[in-house]
């Protein structure tokens, strides 16, 4: 039985398949049965869709679709590597549907985010409070009727502390505690109650420690509320959203192509991968195939980004454990890669390199050479850091057995990437669902056994080496690209054409096309031809076409002007790549206009952070730092 038959046999009319233009498998589920459908898909169907990749919502206010909202569940089958999307329409009048938290722990945060952003409630959710916005925020920002430029005061309006008497201050703390015990947030109430009725030794009480958001190891953006028993962490609660910049809302007001600079700022340690992922999602929606050379370029740049990401992660981790020297060795290697990236993209961090339909610029002629030497440096530094850390007794003792997470918990919390692989699950999007040209390379996916910090460290170290291998192979195979324009006698440099004109040889010019470059000063237009497909709806026409023909001019005009431009047919598409931290997915919705209707990122470290408390409970304070380091939380993509 196919999945469709199984679902319809079980749920009848409550599940209906929705045809998808781009080939995604989509079902519309009645909202009251969403829990049962998810449970059935997780436990009983063949194949089982046992992994919740993403959970989000879309507000269809402007498209006229009824009912107004739909909650989107991106499911994944770990055994067959197939994706499935469930849509549960939710009306505005009664925005409530059952929670799926009992099935997947990661749904806890996803549903909190949906409540926060859309005001959709989840029945049975254990702790439905805001996630990214602050508690005092009014409204739900991702609803279409919430103006994107509306401002709200940032903090609650309480009297400022007067810095007069210490006693007053201490009294206020006591009062605060009393009020919070009665009416504070649930997690705090819980803690205070537990502290009062603490079982066991009456002479010891646990105490609360606010780690972050202003803490050197929290990168300034994470708040971990730790309940400590001496040095040991008994419970933890995370607060995120300090770096929330309304990425998804901003994407809805700019044109499709203008989203790239925002994606740079998601995972800002490996911005190229974000670029690629977004471009792939939009290209899937548009149904265009990019050129072979552009695919290779994207792979090479993604892998370089992955190396910089892992280098930064391990380096920062070592630094937070006190090994400053290892940090700087890796940063030196990263610096070389940044120089390389800068040469190609023109920027070190906010690169905005990828375009819908290709990439911004081709490699420079000496790129392969420089890239090879950079990789050589990376390997040298890798060796040095192996010597400094891997067999270092102190480092080993700090990493082994700390921050442990087992396979089931990792899957329950939707972990992907190196953290999932460290538990022994061999899941890598590059292997499981090969995209671009990853299936043409020979590389290994390292995975661990115990799921502790040391395994994660080793996984990352090995992935650097594997990425180096991919880059080398890709460089060797780099295709020349389709120079599909007929040169012979037809194309001449612009200045020559102008000379012909001066001498009155105009009859020859009628058959000819002028060669100019975008700046009209040199002649390297060949590059542009190699890396862009011949898709007029997406790619800006070459400058010589723009300048020499009315069709080209109109094409260019249509693409850059407000109100027209790249405009995919209405539809929805989900595309995922293997980011440095795990699966990085983009879910894009188009209503046929030149603006994205909805852009949803599935940030890999969001799920990691949602399960972070599981990794630190029972460990010591010092292990929180080590674990936080190996998770490689990047606030840019976590808070968006």
């Amino acid at each position: 039985m196919t999945l469709k038959e199984q679902l319809i046999a079980r749920f009848g009319e409550d599940v209906t398949p929705e045809p998808s233009r781009v080939g995604d498998e989509v079902y519309i589920v009645h909202r009251n049965r969403i829990f049962e459908v998810c449970q059935y898909l997780k436990e009983s169907t063949n194949p089982k869709y046992d992994f919740l990749m993403d959970l989000t919502a879309v507000d269809y206010l402007h498209t006229g679709t009824k009912p107004r909202f739909a909650v989107i569940y991106q499911l994944y089958s770990m055994s067959t590597h197939r994706r499935l999307r469930l849509k549960a329409p939710v009306p505005e009048s009664d925005p409530i549907l059952p929670t799926v938290v009992p099935l997947w722990g990661v749904a806890n945060w996803f549903e909190r985010e949906v409540w926060d952003m859309f005001g959709i409630k989840f029945k049975g959710h254990p702790d439905l409070r805001r996630l990214l916005m602050y508690d005092e925020f009014k409204g739900h920002p991702l609803r279409k009727d919430y103006p994107f430029n509306k401002r709200q005061p940032l903090v609650k309006n309480t009297e400022p502390y007067e810095d007069t008497e210490i006693l007053q201050y201490l009294q206020r703390i006591k009062q605060d505690e009393a009020t919070q015990r009665d009416s504070g947030p649930e997690y705090l109430r819980d803690f205070l109650k537990r502290r009062e009725t603490f079982e066991g030794d009456r002479s010891t009480r646990s105490f609360l420690l606010n780690m972050g958001p202003s803490h050197p190891a929290m990168h300034g953006v994470i708040h971990i509320l730790l309940e400590l028993d001496g040095e040991y962490v008994r419970a933890a609660d995370l607060g995120i959203g300090y770096l929330h910049r309304a990425f998804e809302k901003e994407c809805e007001v700019v044109k499709w192509g203008q989203v790239f600079p925002y994606t740079d700022r998601l995972n800002y340690v490996s911005p190229l991968i974000n670029n690629v992922a977004y471009a792939m999602a939009v290209e899937k929606l548009l149904g265009i195939e990019i050129t072979e050379r552009a695919k290779y370029i994207r792979v090479i740049m993604s892998e370089l980004s992955r190396i910089t990401d892992h280098l930064t992660c391990i380096a920062a981790n070592a630094m937070e454990l006190g090994a400053m020297t290892a940090f700087l060795y890796f940063i030196e290697a990263r610096e070389e890669l940044y120089n390389l990236i800068e040469e190609i993209t023109g920027a070190r961090l906010t690169i905005s390199y990828v375009r819908i339909g290709g990439v911004k610029a081709d490699f420079t002629p000496d790129f392969p050479e420089r890239c090879t030497s950079a990789i050589k440096l990376v390997r040298e530094k890798l060796k040095e850091v192996h010597k400094l850390l891997t067999r270092n007794r102190i480092f080993y003792d700090r990493m082994v057995g700390t921050g442990v997470i087992d396979k089931d918990t990792a899957l329950h919390y939707g972990f992907t990437g190196p953290v999932l692989r460290s538990t022994g699950i061999d899941f890598d999007v590059r292997k499981a669902n090969p995209y671009l040209v990853y299936d043409e390379f020979d590389f290994d996916v390292p995975y661990g056994e115990k799921g502790d910090n040391y395994d994660r460290y080793l996984c990352r170290m090995e992935e650097i080496e594997q990425s180096c291998r991919i880059v080398e192979q890709a460089l060797a195979k780099l295709p020349g690209g389709p120079l599909n324009v007929d040169h012979e006698g037809k194309i001449i440099p612009a200045h020559v054409m102008a000379d012909y004109g001066k001498f009155g040889k105009t009859h020859e010019l009628l058959q000819m096309e002028a060669v100019t470059d975008p700046t009209l000063s040199g002649s390297n237009a060949e590059f542009y031809r190699k890396i862009y497909p011949d898709a007029k709806a997406v790619v800006l026409p070459r400058k010589e076409v723009t300048y020499s023909s009315i069709e080209g001019m109109m094409n260019h005009f249509m693409l850059v002007m407000e109100g027209v431009g790249i405009a995919p047919e209405p539809g929805e598409a989900y595309a995922a790549v293997e980011g440095a931290n795990g699966e990085l997915g983009f879910f894009v919705v188009s209503d046929g206009s030149d603006h994205a209707y909805r852009v949803r990122v599935r940030p890999p470290c969001f799920t990691l952070m949602s399960g972070f408390h599981k990794m630190i409970e029972g460990d010591q304070i010092a292990d929180v730092i080590a674990t936080f380091g190996t998770i490689n939380m990047i606030a840019g993509e976590l808070d968006r």
Binding site: G322, M324, L328
Partner: protein
């Protein structure tokens, strides 16, 4: 009166001119040495009239900054203890140097001046006392700050420093047994004798295990990486989290002074103190019979120089360790102190006792 002037002179020379300057230079060395180790350039921005001096002026800049910054007392802090704590810390780091012999005897104008500020004949006990008091500055500062992080740092510091004092104490028993004295000057002098007629009797040769234990425990006592759990800048920021301005400056200086103190003690106990091999009160007498006679002032100068060179080499090694290793976790520090170093130092005593009995 004369004795007082003598002591004051030695104090000014040794602590004022040597120790404090080394401490200041150490802040620069820490930056420059780490820079060399890490392929960096290091501090070189501070200039006076365009002269950079390899970034040496950063010491002055630091000092100026710390002195001109506001000394902030947080709400809820115990004001008196909070102010007192860094001073206690600094005081006990400084007075430790009083017992350290930095040369033998200098004859000046007919007076025999022992090159040691205070000639206490129970020098080792005095050192233990001073090291024991050092923990108060840290703990008081931490508890008076009214801050959970400081509290954690204070707890860690007290546990760590007290545990490692045990290891330090027991590891020195071997030294006392070998040289049969607790007077630091006598220990240093004893290391000038020769074993089998040619090998200087330095502590590191007679007590190699004791040396390793003392060094390890000593580094732990300074609360620097890899034993910087009380500070743990990326974890709990440290017991001095609330201190600013010169309050922090004092703790900062204490760190360096303690490093120098531990290094000086290691030199005194294990590296022959001020001894230069084959240098006696009247000059060199080599085992092969040759002799170079020197005036007393030259001998004293050579001895002092030898002490200084040993000290600086040791400081370099300690810095290199600091910039190479990651940090222990709190329980691992305790494990190392109580389950490894303490038994090892006890075994050291046993071995020493057996060997001494056999030799007679």
């Amino acid at each position: 009166m004369q004795a007082l002037a003598e002591a004051a002179g030695k104090f000014v020379f040794f602590i004022g001119l040597i120790v404090l300057n080394i401490a200041a230079i150490l802040t620069w060395v820490e930056r420059k040495q780490s820079a060399v180790m890490q392929d960096r350039i290091g501090a070189n921005r501070a200039t006076i009239f365009g002269i950079r001096m390899l970034g040496m002026f950063h010491m002055l800049a630091d000092m100026l900054k710390l002195f001109t910054k506001e000394f902030f007392i947080p709400m809820g802090a115990r004001r008196f203890v909070y102010l007192l704590a860094p001073m206690i810390s600094l005081l006990f780091a400084l007075v430790g140097f009083a017992a350290i012999p930095f040369g033998d005897t200098l004859i000046l104008g007919g007076r025999e001046i022992p090159l040691q500020i205070a000639n206490v004949n129970i020098g080792i006990l005095y050192i233990f006392a001073v090291l024991g008091m050092a923990v108060y500055g840290v703990v008081l500062g931490a508890w008076a700050s009214n801050n959970n992080y400081a509290l954690l740092g204070g707890l860690r510091a007290s546990a760590q420093m007290l545990s490692y004092e045990v290891a330090i104490g027991v590891s020195l028993v071997g030294v006392i047994m070998v040289y049969q004295t607790v007077d630091l000057m006598e220990i240093a002098r004893a290391q000038g004798q020769l074993l089998w007629g040619w090998l200087p009797q330095w502590g590191i040769l007679l007590q190699p295990l004791g040396f390793l234990i003392f060094m390890t425990a000593g580094i732990a006592e300074t609360k620097r990486i890899p034993f910087d759990a009380p500070e743990g800048e990326s974890e709990i920021v440290g017991y001095f989290i609330e201190y600013s301005g010169m309050g922090f400056g004092m703790y900062f200086l204490t760190d360096f002074l303690e490093t120098i103190l531990i290094a000086s003690l290691t030199v005194t106990f294990f590296l022959g103190g001020f001894q230069v091999p084959y240098l006696y009160a009247d000059g060199f007498h080599f085992p092969w019979g040759q002799a170079i006679l020197l005036p007393n002032i030259a001998v004293a100068a050579l001895q002092f120089l030898s002490f200084l060179i040993k000290l600086i080499v040791l400081l370099f090694i300690m810095m290199a360790i600091r910039w190479t290793l990651p940090r222990f976790r709190y329980d691992q520090i305790m494990h190392l102190g109580w389950k490894i170093l303490l038994p090892a130092s006890l075994i050291n005593i046993l071995i020493t006792a057996v060997v001494l009995t056999i030799i007679g």
